[in-house]
Symmetry: C2
Subunit: 261 residues, 2 copies
C-alpha cells in the first residue's frame, strides 16, 4: 500500500492525509504523521487543522492525537442508505439468514474491490474477514468472483489490473489466466464458489445480482466453514439464493428515481 491518490490538487492531498490517519489505525500524533515524510511540517499542520475543523478528523487535546471524525461516519451512513441495494435487500437477507442459518453477505463492486454492504451472522457465528463496511479483494472471494464474471469486457480488464493476486491459501487462484477460466465456468454455472481461496476453512457459494442489462450490480453469498458443511451442500442452496438475488434485482430495477422526502 504505497503512494496514494496524490495527484489532483489540494483536495487529493487532504484526503491523502485522511488515509494516513486511517492507515495507522489508531489515534496518532502530529509527529507520527510528519515522520511519514509525505508533507512538510507547515503543510501537514494546515491539513490537520482544516480536516479537524471540518469534522473529518477529531482531535483529542489531552493526548494531542488525531483520529477519524464523526462526519465520516455520518457520511458513510448516508452512503449505505443510498447505495440502493442495501435497504432493498435487507428483508431478503433476513429471510435467507433465517432459512439457512448460515452467514449471509451482500456485496457491491467498486474499482475492482469488493465492498461488503450488509451481513447476517450465522446462528452459530464464526469469526471471519468480512464485515459490513469492509473492503476486500475480488479475485479470491465468492462475491468478488460472482461480480467479476458478469462485468463488461473493458471494465473487467480494468478490474483485473487492480487485483493484487496474493496467494492467501493453497487454493487461491493467483494468476489472471486461472481466474479468467474460473469466471467462464461461473458464467455457465450461474454461481461462484469459494473453495477456501481467501481464508482456510471458509467456503461459500455466491450469486450475482444482475441488472436487466446483465451487468452485476451486486452479489449475494451464503458462507460457512468446512467444519460445519461441505461445498456440495452449500451449492445445493444456490437455486434459492439465485431466486432471492433475482427478487432484489427486480426491486432495485423498479426503483430508479425515488422521490425525495
Amino acid at each position: 500500500m504505497g503512494a496514494e491518490g496524490h495527484g489532483d490538487g489540494t483536495v487529493g492531498k487532504a484526503l491523502d492525509v485522511l488515509d494516513m490517519v486511517a492507515g495507522l489505525g489508531r489515534a496518532v500524533r502530529f509527529s507520527e504523521l510528519l515522520a511519514q515524510g509525505v508533507y512538510p511540517k507547515a503543510t501537514l499542520y494546515r491539513f490537520l487543522q482544516t480536516l479537524t475543523h471540518q469534522g473529518m478528523l477529531s482531535y483529542d487535546p489531552d493526548r494531542g492525537t488525531y483520529s477519524l471524525g464523526v462526519r465520516l461516519v455520518r457520511l458513510a451512513h448516508a452512503a449505505w442508505a443510498q447505495s440502493s441495494l442495501a435497504p432493498i435487500a435487507r428483508p431478503y437477507l433476513d429471510e435467507l439468514a433465517a432459512e439457512t442459518g448460515e452467514t449471509i453477505h451482500l456485496a457491491q463492486m467498486d474499482l475492482g474491490q469488493v465492498l461488503y454492504v450488509d451481513k447476517r451472522n450465522a446462528t452459530r457465528p464464526v469469526e471471519m474477514f468480512a464485515q459490513a463496511g469492509k473492503v476486500g479483494p475480488a479475485y479470491c472471494t465468492g462475491v468478488g468472483k460472482a461480480m467479476l464474471a458478469y462485468l463488461p469486457d473493458e471494465a473487467l480488464a480494468r478490474a483485473l489490473e487492480r487485483q493484487s493476486f496474493h496467494r492467501h491459501t493453497p487454493q487461491t487462484l493467483y494468476t489472471p489466466e486461472a481466474l479468467k477460466a474460473e469466471l467462464a465456468a461461473i458464467r455457465t454455472r450461474g454461481h461462484a464458489l469459494d473453495r477456501e481461496e481467501h481464508e482456510l476453512g471458509i467456503i461459500c457459494c455466491a450469486v450475482p445480482i444482475l441488472s436487466r442489462s446483465g451487468r452485476a450490480i451486486g452479489a449475494l453469498s451464503v458462507t460457512s466453514t468446512t467444519a460445519n458443511t461441505t461445498l456440495t451442500a452449500l451449492e445445493a442452496k444456490a437455486g434459492r439464493v439465485k431466486d432471492i438475488a433475482a427478487k432484489i434485482a427486480a426491486e432495485a430495477e423498479s426503483w430508479r428515481f425515488p422521490e425525495q422526502g
Copy 2:
C-alpha cells in the same frame, strides 16, 4: 441544517459538495447539484471530477449520476474500528443483549450530538430512530442526557448551544433550564431515563461510560417500549448496565496506545 463548513479553503468546499450529495440521499445529477446555487458550474464540475477521481464519489455513466463512493465507506469503517469504544464494547453488548433481550445502544458524543456507534436488536425487534452510524439529538435521548450530565462545564455550555430543542413529544424537556435540572438529577441517580421524550412509546435507561477522570466517553442504554415493559422495570436493570459500563470504561482506559500491527 444550513450552510456548512464553507470557510476554510478548497478542502472545505469540496467536503461541502460531499454533504450536498449525502443530503439529497440518492444518486444525483450534475444539474441538481448545480441548482442548489452554491457553486458556479465550472467550479462544481471540477469538484465532482476530483471527488470522483478520489473515490469519495462514484459516478454512474449510464445515468449520469453521482453517489457517495467506497473510499468514504472504507474510511468510515476505519473510523468505527478505531473509535476505541466500539471494538472493546462489542462482547459486552452481546452479553447485555442476551441477558435482557432488549435493544441495546452504544453511543458517543460529538459536537453536542449523539452518534450511535453500535446496536443490538431486541429478540423481538422494534422499529425506532436509532441505528448504528446514525446521529441523533442529545437533549431528548437517554444516552444523550447520560453523557451531557457528565460533561465538563464549558463543554456542556457549548453542547447546550447546539441543541435544537424541538418538542418531539409531550414529555420532551424543551428548555435548557428543564434539561439542566434533569442533568443534576441524573448525576445524583447515576443513570438517565428517557420517558418517551424522543419517540412516543419508546423508553430507555442509559448509563454513562466514564473515564477515570470522570469525563463521559460514551453511554450505554437498554431500550424498550411501553407496550413491553415499564420504566420501573427498566430502571431495575440499571445496576447491571452500570457494571458493564464500568467494565468497558476500565478496558478502554488500559488501552491507551495499542501497538500497531
